[in-house]
Amino acid sequence: MNMIDSQAKRTTTVSQDPPAFLHVDNLRTEITSRRSGRVVRAVNGVSFRLERGRILGIVGESGCGKSMTAYSIIRLLPRSARTVGGCIELEGVDLLALREGEMAKLRGTRIAMIFQDPMMTLDPLFTIGDQLSEPLRKHKGLSGGPLRERMLELLRQFSISSPETRLRQYPHELSGGMLQRVVGAIALAADPELVIADEPTTALDPTVQAQYLDLLDSLKKSRDLSLIIVTHDFGVAARLCDDILVMYAGRAVEKAPVEAAFDTPLHPYTQALLKLVNLSDTDGGDHFVTIEGSPPDLSEPIEGCPFAPRCPHKMPICADEDPPEFAVGSGAASCWLYSEAAT
């Protein structure tokens, strides 16, 4: 009962803010293990806002819930996962309240998704042309000559060489980088406004990675897209994003504009992550450095701050009470270190 009350209170306080393009509030998604039946709180009360034309980077270690946050927004969770609370508003429409049929109408036309491994993203048994034509037929009502023209135009927009040949080719005939461009072209075919990309460059070669990020950036500008990039790579985040959301143990521990997040990280977890990145950069990545300890087991209830056991600035209160979010400068952090700063 208590939890529902506090959730209701939060929602009302939030709705007084000016409406955002995308507003995620107190999102909670759980994964139920099929074997043991244990419930993992993969996303545990995540809130953030995204404005039109901005790129938000969600960063964190694997298992921190960043991908589950992304899948929750477009409502394409794996069968074992379920969103159990919170709200996701796209221009005032609560996506979690929509019926599946209504949600399907938004997919492709308003929200689209790019996945990690382009080799797994496309159906291996159909040509690129077939798979690119599907959203154009369905959402744009195109067919025949105009359909073909539009497909070629899209492939050119994504800098794909010899587009006429590509339409006849199967996914296994293209390189990973080329395929990820094709995936992008398909995802953006029906002009969505919000694109969610889950580790879009992780499976690509480093040189191809940079090209792909540049491509996303230029598309964002030309189409006024909003993007959510889920990544574990701070380099990707720094290069592309306007804002950063750092996740740890299913929670958003820090939110900040990209410069602030890298220059003056607030949360001890963000600080530790950045130190790792810098360390492995300076010594050429010769040895593997880690943060001491390991992330908590998300199927067990957590007392206090989830990062407390690994935190160098741990205080008595950290073990007892979960810190709320404190606004600091241009950002915010869920850490007791900032409790005076906030008051």
Partner: protein, 305 residues
């Protein structure tokens, strides 16, 4: 696609050569035929004469070369028992066996795949549970017993269908269905699990993220991907059906190759065994070839290998 088929044809020829060597050697390992043909009081001279007339006095490799040369002319020798060309005996029985196995194969696919799709769509429901239980029963009960039970029910009690022999369509129903039961169960189970496997694949989620309807995703994309393991199973199943036909033919008194082969093995009638096994292999290899072609049609990755 053309070169793909040529390559498969070449492999098929090699397989047939391999099969003929194995058959030739095995038939001779089983014992000397001369003693079965001659009375107990036969003289040394009688034995020599008959060995000479059958070519058994020659070294094994000469026998094999003669055998291969003759086979290329469609000549498998004369049946030792019936004194007529073995080829004629076998060819007379082939249509019945082909009709029975192909009917059973067709039933397995036409019934097995829709049941598998239904079970996957309604997973963990009563219909899924029922279909799967019946499948386990179908796979674990010996088919000759099921055959006898079906005869008892439909031929003896209800008198809807004939109990044995080969004639019109009504004669085919019971033996074909009995032979198909194993295949129905196997195809249904593979279809179900393969289709369920597709559900969590990234490509399916990407199709959903394009806003396509669940129906299009299922019937156009998931089913075609799910059918690949089913095709692989079909190759194994065909061999299984031809083996199973031997038993079912006996149960239903179906005048196919099965009873002829059993009789020839008991009588060490090499020419007939050789003709039957080699012609069956050719039949099986041709069917597998058509499955390979089906693979190529469904999966472009195989076509271009």
């Amino acid at each position: 696609m053309g070169s793909f088929i040529v390559k498969r044809l070449f492999l098929a020829v090699i397989t047939i050569v391999g099969v003929s060597i194995i058959v030739f050697v095995c038939a001779r390992l089983s014992g000397d035929v001369t003693f079965l043909l001659l009375p107990v009081d036969a003289t040394e001279q009688d034995i020599r004469n008959i060995r000479q007339s059958l070519g058994l006095d020659q070294p094994l490799w000469v026998q094999f070369m003669r055998f291969v040369a003759a086979v290329f002319h469609g000549d498998f020798g004369e049946s030792i028992k019936y004194q007529v060309p073995a080829m004629d005996l076998v060819v007379a029985r082939i249509p019945a066996t082909v009709q029975l196995t192909l009917s059973a194969f067709f039933i397995s696919i036409v019934v097995g795949i829709p049941l598998g799709v239904l079970a996957a769509l309604r997973r963990n429901s009563v219909s899924d549970w029922t279909i799967r239980s019946v499948a386990v029963l179908g796979q674990s009960m010996p088919n000759f017993w099921i055959g006898l039970m079906l005869i008892l029910l439909f031929a003896v009690k209800l008198q809807w269908l004939p109990s044995s022999g080969r004639g019109g369509f009504s004669h085919l129903i019971l033996p074909a269905f009995t032979l198909a039961l194993f295949g129905i169960a196997a195809i249904m189970r593979v279809t179900r699990s393969s289709l369920l496997e597709q559900l969590d694949m990234d490509y399916v989620r990407f199709l959903s993220s394009k806003g396509l309807s669940a129906r299009l995703i299922l019937w156009k994309h998931m089913l075609r991907n799910a059918i690949i393991p089913v095709l692989a199973l079909c190759g194994v199943l065909l061999a299984n059906l031809i083996g199973g036909a031997v038993i079912i033919e006996t149960v239903f008194n179906w005048p196919g190759l099965g009873s002829l082969v059993v009789e020839s093995v008991v009588g060490r009638d090499y020419p007939v065994i050789q003709a039957a096994v080699i012609l069956t292999s050719v039949f099986l290899i041709l069917l597998n070839l058509s499955i390979d072609v089906a693979f190529g049609v469904v999966d472009p990755r195989i076509r271009y290998q």
